[in-house]
């Protein structure tokens, strides 16, 4: 896609502009216009009345992580550490062990993400060879009064459900 280039004339050369004040007053007129409009009727403000009005989250939104399971409920993750290796914030902490549910050989014993350190880049999702981790829960706000609670563990991530229908999520991936 070619970038759109708009050439703006360079300003500030004429004597009138060099006096500054005229230009400053012009600018002030613009801001005053906005001020008066909003003072007169504040329904024109360009704001979302969060949290009462919630934003619409698209399927590609990178929210809180979840771990996916096979249809039989066993985790898809095989503890390959690709996500941990790629995580630029170094906030994924996995401990691997021998698999006990008979799916393959390896599985995570513990899988922790420190959401306070995560930068929500989505590299972990991209790196995963098993489609075992996604950020499609649609949960975008999480707060806590201490750091420990910002670490989410394997059980919690396995229990989270996706926030979007599968087709919509896949369509989102195609766009990339």
């Amino acid at each position: 896609m070619a970038a759109k280039v708009k050439q703006l004339p360079s300003r500030g050369g004429t004597p009138a502009e060099k006096v500054y004040l005229i230009e400053i007053f012009k600018g002030m007129a613009i801001t005053l216009k906005h001020f008066l409009r909003n003072l007169w009727d504040n329904s024109n403000l360009y704001v979302r009345h969060y949290p009462e009005v919630q934003p619409d989250i698209p399927a590609r939104w990178r929210g809180r992580h979840r771990l996916l399971t096979h249809p039989d409920g066993t985790p898809k993750c095989v503890a390959c550490f690709m996500c941990q290796t790629n995580c630029p914030a170094d906030c994924i902490m996995i401990k691997a062990g021998t698999r006990i549910d008979g799916v393959t050989e390896k599985m995570p014993v513990s899988f922790t993400i420190d959401l306070a350190e995560c930068i929500y880049c989505g590299y972990c999702v991209e790196a995963c060879p098993e489609d075992a981790i996604r950020m499609d829960t649609g949960i975008y706000a999480f707060t806590s009064s201490n750091r420990e609670e910002m670490k989410i563990g394997m059980t919690e991530m396995l229990s989270l459900k996706g926030g979007f229908p599968e087709e919509e999520y896949q369509k989102g991936l195609e766009g990339e």
């Binding site: 600018g27 001020f35 009727d41």
Partner: protein
């Protein structure tokens, strides 16, 4: 000294000391909400006590509480702890007392005695203001130096040199004014501006001395360290400049000092250029002589004004999204009732005056003084609005541009202005 004398001293001092402090709330709220509106957002409108948000005032209360209860940190590396603590106090104190000589009403005559309506009844006038604002920069320099932090020190250096470069054009602008007014006493200056030209043009400083007005206002912005001249704290390059190491209440004192200084310089600007406490077209004598019609006009205007004000509150104080039993509507009703009660009280007072007061009595003098105080405060508020308005319109200057403007533009212009003014005054005799 009679009892009346003592009461008047207390009244005047407390007005000149506490009005600037009370205006802090106005300044901060205005700063935030005007910034919001200019940028098409709403500014703080959430914090409330039992749903009463008072248009954002409660947010200030919350912030004030927060600052008051925050841990007051003095970093280990600060060597001169005493100077470090002293710095914000200097800033704040200088800002408050710089307002002391500004008259907020015409000389009040009670029982045949006249009382100058300013905090300290001295004649030094504008010189006092120049002296004290120059002093307030010590606070900034001390803060920057004693913080033992290079950002702070750079901020303080900038601030010091900025104040030096802008005090000169400011002083020169004042000189040309003095040539016109013929006095340094601010009460005299305000009274001078109460006259009219050809019967309908008020003889305000801005009309007599437009160039001096521009220079003075620009320099006043610089003296207050306000955008576009807030290089001392330029957060993009100096993080927060001189108050980087300050936290909690010490930071709050700096912050308040800045707004009080803004208030004081607005007051001086109003006094010098916008007629001070004078109600346009009506000088003090006229008002005192015609006290009954004046009271009557007020009696009529106030309810009409309130009616439209109530409408405005109703329109804007509601939730902008679907909400059942919108509590903000109930809130608006409360506001409107409160205001109506206030208006009713004032109406009763005015009725009493209408019924009993004679021209040129103490009551008439008091009413006029009150009206003038209100006028003065309204003018100051408008000037404060200009401060805020400029801040949210103009980006910060670069440091060399700032110095260039001060020395290469404002200084020659101010000198030129003095010569021209002098020549005209001499020519007109």
């Amino acid at each position: 000294m009679t009892n009346l004398d003592i009461i008047m001293v207390i009244v005047r001092v407390s007005i000149s000391a506490f009005v600037p402090l009370c205006f802090l709330a106005v300044c901060v709220t205005m700063e935030r909400r005007v910034a919001g509106f200019i940028q098409d957002r709403s500014g703080p409108n959430r914090a409330g006590i039992c749903g009463i948000r008072a248009g954002g005032l409660v947010q200030n209360l919350a912030d004030g509480l927060k600052l008051a209860f925050k841990e007051d940190i003095i970093s280990e590396h600060v060597e001169h702890k005493f100077l470090y603590v002293l710095a914000p106090i200097i800033s704040m104190a200088a800002a408050i007392i710089s307002f002391a000589l500004v008259p907020f009403a015409d000389t009040l005559v009670l029982d045949g005695k006249s009382y100058v309506m300013q905090g300290i009844p001295w004649d030094t006038g504008i010189l006092w203001f120049l002296a004290i604002t120059g002093f307030s920069v010590y606070g900034i320099i001390l803060a920057g130096w004693s913080s033992t932090n290079k950002y702070s020190l750079l901020g303080a250096l900038r601030s010091a040199s900025q104040v030096i470069s802008y005090e000169i054009p400011m002083g020169l602008a004042v000189i040309s004014l003095l040539i016109v007014y013929g006095s340094i006493n601010l009460s005299d200056i305000a009274r001078f501006q109460g006259q009219t030209w050809l019967g309908f043009i008020p003889m305000w400083g801005i009309l007599l001395q437009p160039l001096a007005a521009v220079i003075f206002i620009v320099a006043a912005f610089a003296e207050c360290n306000r955008t576009p001249f807030d290089l001392a704290e330029g957060e993009s390059e100096l993080v927060a400049g001189f108050h980087l190491e300050y936290s909690a209440m010490k930071f709050a004192v700096f912050f308040m000092g800045e707004y009080v200084a803004m208030f004081a310089s607005s007051a001086v600007i109003v006094t010098l250029f916008f007629g001070g406490y004078n109600i346009p077209f009506f000088d003090t004598d006229f008002l005192i002589r015609n006290i009954k019609p004046v009271a009557f006009v007020l009696l009529v205007i106030l309810p009409v004004f309130m009616f439209y004000f109530a409408k405005w509150i109703r329109r804007n104080n509601r939730s902008q999204y679907l909400r059942e039993n919108d509590p903000r509507k109930a809130e608006a009703t409360i506001y409107i009732r409160c205001f109506w009660i206030l208006i009713a009280i004032i109406e009763v007072f005015l009725l009493a005056i209408l019924a009993f007061a004679q021209p040129d009595t103490a009551a008439a003098h008091l009413l006029v003084a009150l009206m003038q105080i209100c006028t003065f405060l309204i003018k100051v508020t408008l000037m404060l609005f200009v401060y805020v308005w400029v801040r949210w319109t103009i980006p910060r200057f670069r440091y060399d541009q700032l110095q260039m403007l001060g020395w290469q533009k404002l200084l020659p212009l101010a000198l030129l202005n003095i010569f021209v003014t002098g020549a005209i005054v001499v020519a007109l005799g």
